[in-house]
Amino acid sequence: MSKRNNRALPLHISLLIIGGVCLVIGNAVSLWANLRELKTATESQSHTWIVVNRIDDVRTTLMDADAGLRAFFATKNPEFLQHYTAAKAALPKHVAELDRLVADNPRQVALGYTLRQLINERLAGVVQRIAQFQSGDEALAIAQMYDIGGRQTAGIRRLLTTMTEAELALARVRAAGVYRTYVQTNVLAGMMSVVVLLLLVLTYFLIDRNVRRREKAEQALHTLNASLEETVLQRTAQLSQLSARLQNIAEREKMALANELHDELGANLTAMNLDVAAVASRLKDTHPTLAVRLDRALHVLLDTVQLKRRIIHGLRPSLLDTLGLGSAVAALCEDYTARTGRPCAAQVTEELGEIDPEWPIALYRIAQECLTNITKHAQASEVQVVLSREAQGIRLRVVDDGIGIDHNALDKSLAHGLRGMRERVRQLGGMFVIRRADERGTVAEAFLPFAGLAVSP
């Protein structure tokens, strides 16, 4: 599998998710900005009402002043003049406050300027009429109050109404703008939500497809592994069979060579030997010097025969084919004793009955290998070899009382021989076990069943 597929998520899915997160953040920022605008709109709305209230204040104060003046003219009670005085004092304050509130609106500033002028004119007129009234010219003062004062008052009222309407119109324009922005923001937010939703759905399907693909790939990998394992098992079985066949061929060739050496070379050497020995024996009396030379030739001949015997013995134990496995195994024991000087007890069944023709040489080689291992490694003082025919098959058991096989023997120098024995027995459908004995020493056991267990790979 490529490196790319080992990542948690493929690049395009990661990009989709990042895009979705960006959209959500953008939406949040836009909504926040909208909220701020709403706050500003609310503030400007209340500002409008404050301005309208201040205009009302100016109007009310003016009405108070007019009412106080009229009451004074009607009753001549100077107490009513206090209403007028208080109103006159309050008006500049109200107008100044109004000026401050509408300072950001040039139209209102212009109107405010006019308002101040009109108020000043009105107040100057009132002062004049109070003076006329107090100097006794009451009728003129009253007439002018209604005539000039009334016009002035009407002018101021119109102006105040204009200012109120201008402020309200401004508020309406602002509210419309805010509403438009609000609608735009909400439409945008809705669209973003739809896009995010689509991205989520798309991401879901992409991840789903990705997971399915991965599962499919894993399944394919599993299948491949299983088939590889199967192939390895098959190959192992084939190799094992091949090795068995090679071993059989080697044994057959060795046997053929041994037979030829024994039958042909052996017969020639024997014939030569018989003749030479006879002649040498007769020459002993008549030609002693010639007899000595012939004896020398006879010795060389004997050495050659011994060499031939050793070669044949190494190739194929002649006992096996002529006397059978039991005698051959017993001879191995005697040979062991002769080599080591230590006892080797052979308990063998001479008549093993009908057995597979491959078995005798296999069991003989195993017994031979075991005795060789014991000689080299076991430091045993006694060895016992048991060959027996049982109801189910033939059993060979080699037991010694030596130091016991090392648990790691299979990894060491013995390994090759042990594996060879095990493989040999397995190929014949049997089993081979080698282990430390309970107290001391080693037990090696090979069992070949008559039933011929199927060779497992």
Partner: protein, 127 residues
Amino acid sequence: MALSVFVVEDSLMVRTIMEEQINDLPNVVCCGHADGEPSALEHLRSAACDVLILDIKLKAGTGLGVLRAVAEAGWHHPPQTRIIFSNYADPAFRTLAMRLGATHFFDKTQEFPALLALVSGLAATTH
């Protein structure tokens, strides 16, 4: 009456030399030969002999097989002297041959003179 000797040996060359030298002995005669176990037994059943010389490895069967058959009950005139004369020097062969009724065991490589001496001695006593 001459001592009759029957030779069972699969190599024609070796058998010829053996028969030559045995026939050279005084009062000894080779009464026949065979190169395998079945032919040897067939011959021995029809004609008795005094000495039987057997090789172990034969063209068919073994000399030990001949010994085993001869030792079986019901054999009318089994050869009195049964000699194994073989190239197989392993003591196991000697032990088994003796168990099967051989009277002597000679190594083919160096004990033919001893075999001849034995046969010669037997011929002298027979005479």
